[in-house]
């Protein structure tokens, strides 16, 4: 099956930033274990390989594929299907592949609005109003660009996924632990977790890992962290009025941000059993607001100027509604 007898490893990036690849390389000398135990056959960011090389491989010949990035273009989708076909274990790796992440925020806008911002925005000088064309003919031949879809999808909205590994990016210790586990499985020393499981993360919430003191919460005012003169280093951030996403967010990151004095922004995605991350956060925030008067409640809520961004920063594509109206209406599916 393999040229040198070692199982094959692949990593692919779809609509993503590349931070997941850096997180993998951040496992330091552990990366040598990857090389010792796997043959890396496809990893566009780290080595040269062509799509046709992957297409030529027998189906299921890659043991482990870490797939990061959401599905935004026809090229992303093609590669999702290709890697699914060629891989025995396909892992939705990182927040983009599992729940959409920052690229998924594009689901608030139509593709036209996105192109407008990119090609005509304040930071762009484009006097000729050039826009990329999907197909272009020139003397040397026809050239094509992949189609840009109306909404970004998560990997499991396009192909079946074996495991989910959350995080933006996944913490390097968690990656190292997962790689160790797969090596043990290959050597017959361990068993794979049940299909569909979330790996490389905890099962509870960031709050449960947080060392800050927690009391009964009652909030009269939400503030942005930069508006506070003094932040109590030992007290729960939410109790200080800072909208901290810890109550709904899956543990596994080691609660890094709250320990450093910044609120959790939710990059590890929904905690176990949560269907809609934003809904869980709305429940949590609304429960601790200390007012029963509609006008006063509205005034307190003004302290969260961008609720959809607060609640769905990482999870829009993976939420129940998945996209704002402008995005899906642009598909002509009205």
């Amino acid at each position: 099956m393999t040229t040198n007898g070692k199982p094959k490893f692949a990593m692919y990036w779809a609509a993503s930033c590349g931070g997941c690849e850096i997180a993998v390389l951040n496992i330091h000398e552990k990366i040598l274990d990857v090389d010792a135990n796997f043959e890396v056959v496809f990893w566009p960011v780290a080595m040269d390989a062509k799509y046709k090389d992957v297409e030529a491989m027998p189906d299921k010949s890659i043991l482990l594929t870490l797939f990061n990035g959401g599905i935004r273009t026809s090229e992303n989708e093609e590669l999702a299907h290709l890697m699914r076909r060629k891989s025995q274990i396909l892992v939705a790796f990182g927040s983009c592949a599992t729940e959409g992440c920052i690229p998924g925020l594009g689901n608030f806008s139509s593709p036209e609005e996105i192109f407008e911002a990119v090609y005509e925005g304040v930071s762009t000088e484009n006097p000729e109003h050039y826009r990329p064309q999907y197909n272009y003919s020139m003397p040397e031949g026809d050239i094509h660009l992949p189609e840009f879809y109306p909404v970004l999808k998560t990997l499991d909205q396009v192909v079946p996924v074996d495991y989910y590994m959350p995080g933006c990016p996944p913490e390097s210790e968690q990656i190292a632990a997962v790689i160790d586990l797969v090596i043990q499985v290959v050597n017959g020393e361990a068993e794979l977790p049940p299909a569909g499981a979330t790996i490389g993360a905890g099962e509870t919430t960031v709050c449960d890992d947080c060392p800050r003191e927690r009391n009964v919460k009652s909030i009269k005012k939400f503030v942005r962290i930069q508006e506070l003169e003094h932040i109590d280093p030992d007290l729960c951030l939410l109790e200080q009025g800072i909208p901290c996403n810890g109550p709904a967010t899956r543990s596994g990151c080691g609660c890094l941000c709250p320990q450093a004095g910044a609120q959790c922004i939710g990059c590890y995605g929904p905690a176990e059993g949560v269907i809609d991350y934003g809904a869980r956060l709305m429940t949590a925030f609304a429960s601790v607001i200390d007012s029963n008067d509609p006008d006063e409640i509205e005034a307190i809520l003004d302290g969260i100027p961008d609720p959809a961004g607060q609640f769905y920063r990482f999870n829009l594509a993976g939420s129940l509604l998945r996209a704002g109206t402008p995005a899906w209406k642009s598909n002509g599916s009205d």
Binding site: N292, D306, P307, L320, L321
Partner: protein
């Protein structure tokens, strides 16, 4: 359009007040449009915004949340939690391009069958005015979320 658009509205009612108000409306033979599908919760405080989002994503054109009048909650003050969640949810869905008028909060005591029937009648007309929501039925292959939803439906 020749046929009149008939909106589908999901109504969440509280066991102690608004569900009984609906019951009273029934026994008193007060008429209200059949567009609303009532679901009984023990309290409006049980209303997780997930329910509302799932209803909208699953084909409902509007959602009515009902509970006991302020100060009259069977569980002391859970209806205030419902109020706060509702106000926050409205802001969030508005950003997603859903008219906040599609989600409504109504207080109705067990004696207010007439009031509840009126509110339902009004909301059906308001949603009829707004038109169908038509949230897309996303085509999925193996989404965890859709599997979870199916399991709940068949359970």
């Amino acid at each position: 359009m020749t046929e009149k658009f008939e909106p589908v509205i999901i109504g969440f009612t509280c066991n102690w007040c608004s569900y009984r108000a609906a019951d009273l409306a029934g026994t008193a033979r007060i008429k209200y449009p059949p567009n609303i599908r009532l679901i009984r919760l023990m309290c409006s405080g049980r209303l997780d915004p997930t329910f509302v989002l799932k209803a909208l994503a699953g084909g409902a054109d509007g959602v009515m949340i009902t509970g006991c009048h302020p100060g009259e909650c069977h569980y002391l003050e859970q209806n205030y939690k419902a109020l706060r969640r509702y106000l926050l949810l409205r802001r969030t869905i508005a950003q997603m391009g859903v008219d906040p008028g599609r989600v409504k909060l109504v207080w109705a005591s067990a004696a207010e069958g007439v009031h509840l029937a009126e509110e339902i009648t009004n909301m059906v007309e308001e949603i009829r005015e707004l038109g169908p929501l038509n949230w897309p039925k996303w085509d999925t292959n193996g989404s965890k979320a859709s599997v979870a939803v199916q399991e709940e439906v068949t359970a």
